[in-house]
């Protein structure tokens, strides 16, 4: 058994804490984007998931995602139910220089933020009780299997050679597609002439984006699961792509609408962070500049198309996380270089890697779409997913939570 490395352990525990902070950051990011009568309910989605998935992950999520495979590369077994056998000693399989519990905790933070991302799609109209049931089911039936496919050494997509350094497919594509399905299922918000609203608090959203950016260093650089050169590469590519996408989005919106949007800077940065997530440990800093430019253009276009299509994905989860995640996964297949992560992509002469990435994107996207639709249908049979019209009119803060955010 390998010895525990104190540097690696410190970095992964710190990274887990950084990723944890992303979920409250997401709450602020989304909270600022909605109308003031729904800010608490929007924040509550993320904050409640922080508690909910922390518990389900310990009880059964971790073993389904990372437990010893049941035989087909589809799902982990129940060997580590309630973390039985997951101790302070290193795992034989994962991150062998840190305590297994540290690896579990790091992965838990990913499992928490992924369903929280989806909540932006049904903001301002989802019944809280239905949201809770959906979150439990989705993290169990969608997130855990996909994480197993891609990140477990026995997972079937891992076996195919799909590259996903920190969650471009597992986290962002899966949640982005789920968001689109949820938005279509629940329908448009009542009374909106256009499927877009003015954010009630842009500084709150920018603060949230800043916290996300900060936490993303743990998300991506922590995914090296060691304090080493690969982590440093992931740190730099992460910052570079976020920066490039932020200034790209601002530039496009400036040219398109005549003003350099502050909100655009925040959303653009998140798009860049999403796109570099699968690539951070496989590409060079120079490639991350190109990826940042590309995702800024593509996600801005996707957001405009979403508006034209009148799909009320209220906070553009699909345009940023779905499209950005798919873009990043494909970009990994293009720009990967063995000098960084041990695998070459298209530009280094390995066209097959891009094909593999396409398979990963299609499979993860299709599974998330179908499974999410099934979960929404079943939850809707138990509890209506959408709140009643008068409650939507009143605002979910008061109607669902009995509280208001502001007294002035």
């Amino acid at each position: 058994m390998a010895e525990i490395n104190s540097g690696d352990t410190a970095w992964i525990l710190m990274s887990a804490a950084l990723v944890m902070l992303m979920t409250p950051g997401l709450a602020l990011f989304y909270g600022g984007l909605v109308r003031r009568k729904n800010v608490l309910s929007t924040i509550m989605h993320s904050f409640f998931i922080l508690g909910l998935v922390s518990v389900t992950w310990v009880l059964w999520g971790y073993t389904l995602a990372f437990g010893p495979d049941t035989g087909l590369g589809i799902i982990g077994g129940l060997d580590w139910l309630a973390l039985e056998g997951v101790t302070g000693e290193p795992s034989d399989v994962y991150a062998t220089t840190i305590p297994h519990l540290a690896f579990m905790a790091f992965q838990m933070m990913f499992a928490i933020i992924t369903p929280a991302l989806i909540t932006g799609a049904f903001a301002e109209r989802k019944r809280f009780k239905a949201f809770v049931l959906f979150a439990v089911a989705w993290s169990t039936l969608v997130y855990a299997p996909i994480a197993h496919w891609v990140w477990s050494p026995d997972g079937w997509l891992f076996g195919l050679g799909v590259l996903d350094f920190a969650g471009g497919t597992v986290v962002h594509l899966s949640s982005g597609i789920a968001a689109l399905v949820a938005a279509l299922f629940i329908g448009r918000r009542t009374g909106l002439i256009q499927p877009a609203t003015e954010p009630h608090d842009v500084p709150m959203t920018v603060l949230g984006a800043g916290l996300l950016w900060f936490g993303w260093f743990g998300f991506n650089a922590g995914s090296a699961v060691a304090a080493n050169g690969l982590a440093a590469n992931a740190f730099v590519t992460t910052n570079t792509a976020a920066a490039m996408a932020a200034i790209t989005w601002v530039t496009i919106s400036w040219l398109h609408k005549g003003t350099p949007s502050v909100l655009g800077a925040a959303i653009g940065a998140v798009a860049g962070l999403v796109a570099i997530t699968p690539a951070a440990g496989f590409v060079t800093p120079a490639a991350s500049v190109v990826i940042g430019l590309g995702v800024g253009l593509v996600c801005y276009g996707a957001a405009q198309l979403r508006l034209r299509a009148r799909v009320d994905d209220a906070l553009d989860v699909f345009a940023v996380h779905g499209v950005g995640g798919a873009f990043g996964a494909l970009a990994t297949g293009v720009f990967a270089t063995a000098a960084v992560g041990g695998v070459d992509g298209l530009l280094a002469g390995n066209a097959g890697q891009l094909v593999t990435q396409v398979i990963g994107v299609v499979v993860v996207g299709a599974y998330s779409a179908v499974a999410t639709a099934g979960i929404l249908f079943l939850v809707n049979l138990v509890v209506p997913i959408r709140v009643a019209g008068p409650d939507e009119e009143q605002g979910l803060d008061l109607a669902q939570h009995g509280e208001v955010a502001y007294q002035v």
């Binding site: 518990v55 009880l59 139910l81 309630a82 039985e84 009780k129 049931l133 008061l398 009995g402």
Partner: protein
């Protein structure tokens, strides 16, 4: 202990399904303070 942990979560899950849909306590409106004219 594993069973106890699972049962603990199951209790909460049942409670969420049975929980009321509307606030059962009335929300107290906090009156806004009177605005004072600025001193000349």
């Amino acid at each position: 202990m594993v069973i106890a942990a699972l049962v603990s979560f199951a209790i909460l899950l049942v409670a969420w399904i049975l929980a009321p849909e509307q606030p059962t306590a009335t929300v107290q409106e906090v009156p806004l303070p009177e605005t004072q004219p600025l001193a000349a």
